[in-house]
Symmetry: D2
Subunit: 401 residues, 4 copies
C-alpha cells in the first residue's frame, strides 16, 4: 500500500466479458433523462466558467436536479407539430451575491440550457416546443475550496462518498456505446431523419449478442410509411456494421421492435425525442458517468451531472476512477478486467482517498504481481493530478453521462 492507500488485488469474480449473461444499456443524448443530465451538466459548466470569469474562483453551486415534464405532440408523415410544449425546470443552488457583485445565476442557467438544447436537439424550438424555467436557491455564503485562475489547491473531501470505474469495456459495452455515439454523429449527418433519442440495449448470452435499438424518427424527413421502413432498416444495418467492428460473436440487431405497421403504430416524432409525448425525465436516472448502465458491474447511484466539479467528491471520484481505468488498460498489457474504487474520507485532501482499491482480472498466464507496480504507479499519478478532472469538467471536455 502506498501513501495514497492504493491496493491492487485480484477481483473475486470472472471478467464481465467471460460471464454467461451480460446486459448493457445506453440512453442516447436525446432521451428525456439524458436531456436533463446534459442540461444539468451544461448549466454547471457555465456557472463554473462564469464564476472564474467574474470573481476568479468557482463559488458554491449545485445544479444536479432538472425535471422534464413531457409535452404532447401530433407527429405526421412529412411533418407534424408539438401541441403542448415540454416543461423543463432547472433546480439547484448557486451563489448569487459575492463580494458586492450580483451573479446572474438564473440567467446563466437559462442561457446554457438554451444553447445546449439548440445544439443537441435542433428540431426543438426553445421557448415554443419547450418552456424552460429555473429555480435556483441561494447557495450558502461560505467560501469554497479554492479553484481559482492562478492557483489550484487540492480541496478536502466534504463527504464520505465513493466512485467506481471500469475498464476495459466489454465488446457488448463498446457496441452499445459506439452505436449510439456514431448514430448521433456520422449517421445523423447523412440521415437527418434520425432523432437524438436513441436508446440501445445490448444483451449477451454466451456468444450471442442481441442489440435492441429504439430510435425516434423525425417526421419532417419521413414522408411515407415506406420511407419509415427504409429508415429503420438503415439504422439496423448501420448498427450491425458498428457491431462487427467490435466483435466476432454473433450479433442480431433489432430496431423499433414495438412498431406495428398494420396498426400504424410506429416510433415517429416531431422533434426526435420522446419527451415530446409522454416521457418525463430527470437527472441521474440514466447513464452512469461512463455513459452506460451496466448491471453486471458495480455502479454508483450518484448523479454525476450538474454537481460542482471543484468539491463534489462523488462526482470527482466517479469521473476519476473511470479515467484511471482507461489509463491503466491503455498503458498496461494483459489486463482483462479492472475495477477502480475510490472511497473518500471527510476532511482529508481528495488526492489522498481513504482507500483506492483496484481489482484486477489478468489475462491467462499473467499474475497480479506482474502488473501491480505499473497499475499502482498510474493510480498514484492520476490521484496526484486530481484537479485536472475539475479543469476538464469545467472546460466541458469530460462527459458525465
Amino acid at each position: 500500500m502506498t501513501e495514497r492507500n492504493i491496493r491492487v488485488e485480484p477481483i473475486d469474480r470472472q471478467a464481465v466479458e467471460d460471464q454467461e449473461v451480460e446486459i448493457v444499456e445506453r440512453k442516447g443524448i436525446g432521451h428525456p433523462d439524458s436531456i436533463c443530465d446534459g442540461i444539468a451538466e451544461s448549466v454547471a459548466g457555465a456557472l463554473a466558467r462564469e464564476y472564474l470569469d467574474r470573481v476568479g474562483e468557482v463559488l458554491h453551486f449545485n445544479t444536479d436536479e432538472t425535471q422534464l415534464v413531457a409535452g404532447e405532440a401530433v407527429p405526421a408523415f412529412g411533418g407534424g407539430e408539438v401541441v403542448d410544449p415540454i416543461y423543463l425546470l432547472i433546480v439547484g443552488r448557486a451563489t448569487k451575491h459575492y463580494d458586492g457583485q450580483v451573479i446572474p445565476t438564473e440567467r446563466i442557467a437559462l442561457t446554457a440550457a438554451r444553447e445546449y438544447l439548440e445544439e443537441t436537439i435542433p428540431q426543438l424550438e426553445v421557448g415554443e416546443d419547450i418552456v424552460v424555467d429555473v429555480r435556483l436557491g441561494e447557495g450558502s455564503g461560505d467560501l469554497q475550496d479554492v479553484f481559482g485562475e492562478d492557483e489550484v489547491s487540492v480541496p478536502m473531501a466534504n463527504d464520505t462518498s465513493f466512485g467506481v470505474g471500469h475498464a476495459p469495456l466489454t465488446e457488448t459495452e463498446r457496441i452499445v456505446s459506439e452505436a449510439e455515439r456514431r448514430l448521433n454523429g456520422e449517421f445523423v449527418d447523412e440521415n437527418p431523419y434520425l432523432g437524438p433519442d436513441v436508446k440501445i440495449m445490448g444483451k449477451r448470452e454466451g456468444d450471442e449478442i442481441d442489440v435492441t435499438v429504439a430510435a425516434a424518427m423525425i417526421d419532417e424527413y419521413i414522408p411515407t410509411m415506406d420511407a419509415y421502413r427504409d429508415a429503420v432498416e438503415s439504422v439496423r444495418e448501420f448498427v450491425e456494421a458498428v457491431a462487427s467492428e467490435h466483435t466476432d460473436r454473433d450479433v442480431t440487431v433489432y430496431v423499433n421492435t414495438a412498431d406495428d405497421y398494420d396498426e400504424g403504430s410506429i416510433y415517429l416524432t416531431v422533434t426526435g425525442t420522446s419527451a415530446e409525448q409522454g416521457d418525463d425525465g430527470s437527472v441521474g436516472r440514466g447513464n452512469r458517468a461512463n455513459g452506460l448502465i451496466t448491471p453486471n458491474r458495480s455502479m454508483s447511484m450518484e448523479a454525476t451531472s450538474g454537481k460542482n466539479p471543484v468539491n463534489h467528491i462523488g462526482k470527482i471520484y466517479n469521473l476519476l476512477s473511470t479515467e484511471i481505468g482507461k489509463s491503466v488498460v491503455d498503458e498496461v498489457d494483459d489486463i482483462r478486467d479492472l475495477r477502480v474504487r475510490l472511497l473518500s474520507q471527510i476532511g482529508r485532501p481528495i488526492d489522498q482517498p481513504h482507500v483506492a482499491d483496484v481489482h484486477v482480472v489478468t489475462d491467462d498466464g499473467v499474475t497480479i504481481e506482474d502488473v501491480e507496480a505499473d497499475v499502482e504507479a498510474i493510480v498514484d499519478r492520476e490521484l496526484a493530478d486530481v484537479t485536472e478532472i475539475t479543469r476538464r469538467v469545467i472546460d466541458g471536455e469530460l462527459s458525465t453521462f
Copy 2:
C-alpha cells in the same frame, strides 16, 4: 329612436375640455401592465387566425389573463444585466380538440408571445431575460357563433355588458397619447437609449397643462451620467414639441422627476422596462380600449385585451363605441364632446343593442337637433357593420390598450 335603439341626447355635464381639472394617463407599450395587455391580445389574434386557417371558423377561447412577475436587474452605464429573469404566465381557455383535429393552442400562444416581445421590447432576450410559461384550460366543446371564412353572421350577445367610447380627445388626451406613441416611434428610431416603458401623466388645471413622463432609459446606450442627463433633456424637449402641436395652453413637461442625481438614483434599465426590476403587471390594469386612462370620463372596467373578438360583447362594444365616436367627430362638425354607450341584451343580435345612447355637447350656437340625424345615421351604419370590428381585431388592425 331607430330600430337599433339609438338615442342622441345632450350630455348632462360640460365638455371635458371645459372642465376645470383634467387628469389623463397612458402606460406605454413597455409598461408591465401593457406588456400583459399586448401579449394577451397578440395571443388572442394568433389563436383566432389559426382557428380560421385550420377549421375555417373561430372556436371558443379567452386569453384575457396574463401575469407578469418582475425580475431583478443590475443596470450599469454602458450595459448591465438581468440577473433574475422576468416570469410571465399566459392564462386562459382555448379549444384544443375539434372535429378530430388537435389545435396546438399552447404552442400558438408561446409563439405569439415571443414574436410580440421580440418586436416590442427588442432588448429583452426571450427565454433568458424572460421565461414565458402558459396554462390554457380546455375551452368548452360547444360550437361558437359563426365567424368563418366564407360567411359571417351576427352573433347573439351572450352577456349583459356595456361599452363606452369618447370623442374627440381633449388636448391633454392627445398630448399624452401622441407623446407616448411618437416617443416609441420616431424618437426611438433616432435615439435607441429610450426604452418602451414610458408612462405619461397629463394634468390640466384651467389652462395650465403639466405633462409628467417616466421614461426607462436603456443602459447599453447611456455611457455616463452626462449622457443620461442629455437623454432626459431630449425626451423633455421632444414631448414639449409634441405638446405644442396640440395646444396653445401653457405646457410644462417633467421627465423622470423621481431621479436623484446626487444619490445616483436614476431611471436606468437594462431592457427598457421596469418589469426587469420589481414592477409586476397584469392584463386590464392599465389603459382602456382607447389607449388612455381618463378619470374624467366614464370608463369600462372590462379588460379588452385577450378577449375573443367574435362573441365577447364587452370587448366588441368597447372597441365599437370608440370607433363610432371617432367616425362621428370625423364626419359631423360642431361636436365638442361626445360619449357613446352601447348596452347589450342577452340573446339579441349584437348589432341591435339594448340601448345605444349617444350624449353630445355641441359647440356654442349649435343644438342637438342640428346634428342628431347625422349622428344617428353614423351609429346605425357602424352597428350594422359590427362584424367588421371582429375582422379588424383578428387582423391586428385595432389596438385594445
Copy 3:
C-alpha cells in the same frame, strides 16, 4: 379653499339617482376576480401586521397581483368533484431581510391565503381543490415611511395619483351591494346550497330596476333538478325582499338566466365558485374600493387590494375619499349626490393633497353655500386623520373590493 386645498363645488351633472339609465355591478366574494382581490388584501394585511410585530414598523411590500388559473370540475346532483385543481399564484414584492432578521414573507403569504380561502370558500379544500403558489420578489432595502407601533408620522406622497369616492349610494347601488352581502351572509347561513360566487348586475331605466343574479349553487346540497329550481327561486325571492327595503321603484329579479333546464345546463358547482371550471381571475379587475362597479360614476383604475396601506397613495386616497363621502352624507343633510376626488402631489404630506375637490348635488331648494362649510370641515377632519385609514386597513376593518 382651506390650507388643505379643499374645494366644494357643484357637480356638472345630474345626481346619478336622477339619470335616465344606471348600471351597477358587484362581483361577490367568491367570484374569481374577488378571490384574487381578497387574497391580495389579506396577504397585505398579514404582512403589515407581521412587520409591526417583528420589527415595529411596516416595511416595504406590495402584493397587489394574484393570478388565478381556473380548474376543471364535474359537478353532480348530490355532490361531484373537482378533477383538475385551481392554480393560484400570489405575486408581489416584500422585504425579506431587515436588520439581521429574515422575514418569512412567502410563508406569511401562504398562511394568509389559506386562512382567507378556508373562511371565504369553505367548500374548497386548500391544497387539493386549489394549489396556492407564491412568487414574492425582494422589496427594495430602503426604509419606508414610518408607520410604527409607537408613533405615526404622515408619509409623503410617492406618486401623483388620485382617489375618488361617492355618496350616497343610489337605490340601485344599495340593492346590488346589499343583496350580495346578505346572500353571502344571513341567506347562506340558512341555505348552504348557495356558493359565494354571486354576481349581481343592476340596471335601472327610469323607474324600472332589473336585478340579474348569477348564483353558483353547491351540488352537495342540491340533490335534484327540483331542488335546484327551488334554490333559484329562493334566491330570487330573497333578493326581491332585499330590494324592496331600498326602493319603491318596480324591481324585477332574474336569477341564473342562462340556465336551460331542458338541456340540463344549469349553474351547478362543486365548490361554489366558477373558478373551479373555466373562469380565471386576477386582482383589480372587479369591484372598485367601494365594492361596486359603477360606470355612471368616475372610477379609479387603481387596484386597491394588496397595496401597501402605509404609503400607497392610490390605495389610501381611494379608501379615504370613499370614507369622506360616507361621513359627509351621514352628517350633512340635503345632499343628493357627492363626489370626492383627492389628487396627490409627489413629495407633499398625504394629509395635504394637491387638490381635494368635492362636487355636490344638493336637494332642491338647498344651495352649495348652505352646506359648504360643513362639508369642508368634515373633509378637513378626515384628511387630518388620514393615518387612521392605514390603521383600519392593517386591522382588516376596511374592505377594498
Copy 4:
C-alpha cells in the same frame, strides 16, 4: 432449468459478508430524495386504488417523477421557522378520461401527497411550509393489461428490463436498515426532537464497522446547545444498541460529524428535513427497492417508486426478486449469500421470465446441489404468484425505497 427458465448456480464472487470492504447507505424517510420516492409511490397507490374503485381495473399511469426544490429556513433553539417554502412538483401521466368518466387524477395525487407528508413529516405544514403542485399528462387511451376486481390475468412484459434482489442482508446492511427504521419508529415516539431525515452510512473494513448517522434535529424540541448535545448522544447510544443486536464485530457510531459546536454550526432544523434548507430531491436517486444503497451488490438503476404496479416490469421484477430472496433464505438453510436476477422478454407473460438466474454462495460444507431443488421450487412458486406483488403494492404493503 424449469419451464420458467430458472437457473441456480454458484455466484462468481465471495459472499458480501466475507468481502474485505463493504459500504451500505440508507436515506431515511425524511431525506429529500426519499420524500420524492414516498410521494411518487403513494400517488401511484392512490391512483391504482381509485381506478379499481371507479372503473374496476387499473388504468394506465406512471408517476415516477417528483421534483423537490428546497426551501429556506431559519432554525433556532426552541423553534425557528421556514421562511421560503419547499416547492414540490408531482410529475407523470395518468388516464383522465375513461368510458365517459372523468378521473380526478390531479386531485387524487394532491390528496395522496398531502396525506403522505402529514403522516411522514408531521412538522411540515402542507400548503405553508411546502407548496405541492402537480403536472400529470394524459395517459394514452389504450386499455391496459387487466388487473381488475374480479379477475387477474398475468400481463405480458412490455419491455426488456431486469430486476435484482439479494438475501440475506449482511450484518452491516441490517444495522443500517434497522437503525433508520427504529430511529424513525420507537426512538421518535419517545424523543420527538429527532426529525425523519436520518441518513445512515455503514462502512465495514474487515471486522470493523463504522456507522455514520446524519440526523436532523427539530428545533422546537431542542431548547439549548446542551439539549442538542444530549440529543446527539442519545441517537448515538440508540444506534449502538441496535448495532449490537446484529453483530459481534466492533462497531463505532458517529452522529452529525460535521457539527462544529464552537462555530454554532449544528444540524438543527425546523421541520426535521434538510429539504427545508438547500437540499433538493427527486425520485429514484436514493434507496433501491430493498431500502438500501449497496455498491457491493449489483443494483438496478430503475426508479421503482411511482411506477405502475400492474405492468411496469422493472418495478415488478425488482420487488419480486427481493421477495424471492427473502423467501429462499427464510425457507432454505445454509445459504450465505444469494442474488436473484429476473430478466423479462417483451411479449412473454411476466410469470415466465426470459431468465431467472439465482446465484448462491452456500455455507461451508454445503454444495449448490444440496439446495438447488428447494431454491428452484421457491422461485417457481413466487413467479407463479407474481400478481400478488401487484396486489401488495396497490395495498401499500410493500415498500419501494
